[in-house]
């Protein structure tokens, strides 16, 4: 990046949030060089041919990101923000197009760290095919934020005639995930360091826009999808069961889990079904189209580990049940609060 480098500080100070020359320097040197906005105006002005299709709909989503540590194996808070927002659009059948990004920066944060984070954002946005078109920065005093908070808003277009919604799921529909579960949650737990656990795990953090397009192309009857972020697969399935007023049955044997994630869960007494994912979605497709959906996922790197994990059923509406490894059955409920490591 050969942008003007007037910025000589190594850490962000309150003067970088003051609205004057120092702030201009920070924005020019860190953000504008990476995101290369099209205009110097206060708002992005957007047009896209897909918007003029009769019956096309806009999809809008917003999300705030906080994570400790800011950088972790497999990603950082910036990549998380792009993927999280892109995925929220994608699972609704929208083609993600534009993003805004707002940064709340704690005084004292290293500017090199900001540069790295912004660079991964630009990289991930390019990979996902979205543009970061507008943004904002604020600097707050020490202790008023934990390093950096990022808020992203995403806009996408849902093509005419496409409608994905959990209440369209029908009994017999197959639940498919695109890969292993819990990698992100387990990676963050280890990366925090306070449990003194080390692993070679990396976060699954990835954008799923292209994958969703491929699934819908291969299985046009795809009913609905959710990304299994906070609260894990269990929460996503419970939300869908409630919205569909159907039961969902999953097979413990079929759940794709890495050994390290299992190990981490055994050590800390956690349930991998509730661990966060940042690049894992669950989609419901009609049984006849399930093989095509699976094949479409597996043809992409984000979906190489795709498997069917269960199905929607008419019984026990609103409830998720799991067949355990040797034929027992148990209810997979929503989580109360957050999962805490336990000894007993």
């Amino acid at each position: 990046m050969n942008a003007p480098r007037r910025l000589r500080d190594t850490r962000v100070t309150l003067s970088h949030g003051g609205g004057g020359r120092a702030m201009r320097d920070l924005i020019d040197s860190v953000f504008a060089t990476a995101f290369q906005p099209q205009t110097a105006e206060d708002q992005a002005r957007l047009s896209h041919p897909a918007l003029s299709d009769p019956g096309a709909r806009l999809a809008l989503t917003t999300d705030s990101f906080v994570v400790t540590p800011l950088e972790f194996p497999g990603g950082d808070i910036g990549k998380l923000a792009i993927c999280g927002t892109v995925n929220d659009l994608a699972v609704g059948g929208a083609r993600p197009l534009w993003l805004s990004a707002a940064f709340i920066i704690e005084e004292g944060t290293e500017i090199d760290l900001l540069r790295r984070i912004v660079a991964t954002m630009a990289q991930e946005a390019a990979r996902a095919g979205v543009q970061i078109v507008t943004g904002d920065t604020k600097v707050v005093g020490r202790g008023a934020a934990d390093g950096l908070f990022v808020t992203t808003t995403g806009v996408g277009v849902i093509p005419p005639g496409r409608n994905l919604a959990a209440d369209l799921i029908r009994p017999g529909d197959v639940a498919i995930v695109n890969g292993v579960l819990g990698d992100h949650g387990a990676t963050i737990l280890a990366a925090r360091g306070d449990l003194a656990l080390s692993t070679d795990l990396v976060s699954d953090c990835q954008s799923l826009g292209h994958l969703m397009e491929a699934v819908i192309a291969a299985a046009p009857g795809t009913r609905a999808a959710r990304d299994a972020t906070r609260g894990g697969l269990a929460s996503a399935l419970n939300e869908m069961a409630a919205a569909a007023a159907l039961g969902i049955e999953i097979d413990e044997d079929a759940l794709p889990l890495r050994d390290e994630v299992r190990g981490m869960c055994e050590i800390l007494g956690l349930d991998p079904l509730y661990l966060a994912n940042e690049g894992t979605l669950v989609a419901f497709v009609p049984e006849a189209q399930a093989p095509a959906a699976l094949a479409a996922m597996r043809a992409r790197p984000e979906g190489r580990g795709a498997v069917a994990i269960g199905r929607a059923v008419a019984a026990h509406p609103g409830q998720v049940r799991m067949r355990t490894v040797f034929g027992g059955s148990r209810i997979v409920d929503m989580l109360v609060g957050e999962q805490l490591p336990r000894i007993c």
């Binding site: 003194a196 656990l197 692993t199 390290e260 299992r262 190990g263 055994e266 007993c344």
Partner: protein, 96 residues
């Protein structure tokens, strides 16, 4: 109560504080090995121990584990034989 999980001792980290690195399915953690120090400390490397709150609490007896599994396997086979007999009986009765 008392979550405990089998882990393999992969390296001694501090002889005086009696700590070692234990591994559970690719997850590593430093643990205290005072409770299982029944031999020269280096000889513990490669052993499986039951890990609880960062302490190796007991070495796992591979022979005993094999014995329990054998008994379970025998039971499984005996049960299968019984079921096969019952099936055969049913088939005979059905045929008669």
């Amino acid at each position: 109560m008392c979550l405990g999980i089998p882990g393999r001792i992969v390296a001694i980290t501090d002889e005086t504080r009696m700590t070692a690195l234990a591994e559970v399915s690719g997850v590593r953690r430093e643990v205290n090995i005072a409770c299982v120090l029944d031999r020269p400390i280096a000889a513990l490397v490669g052993e499986w121990a039951l890990i609880h709150v960062g302490f190796a609490m007991a070495l796992i007896d591979a022979d005993e584990a094999a014995r329990t599994l054998d008994a379970l396997r025998d039971l499984g086979e005996a049960q299968e034989a019984l079921e096969a007999m019952a099936e055969g009986q049913k088939a005979l009765e059905g045929g008669a």
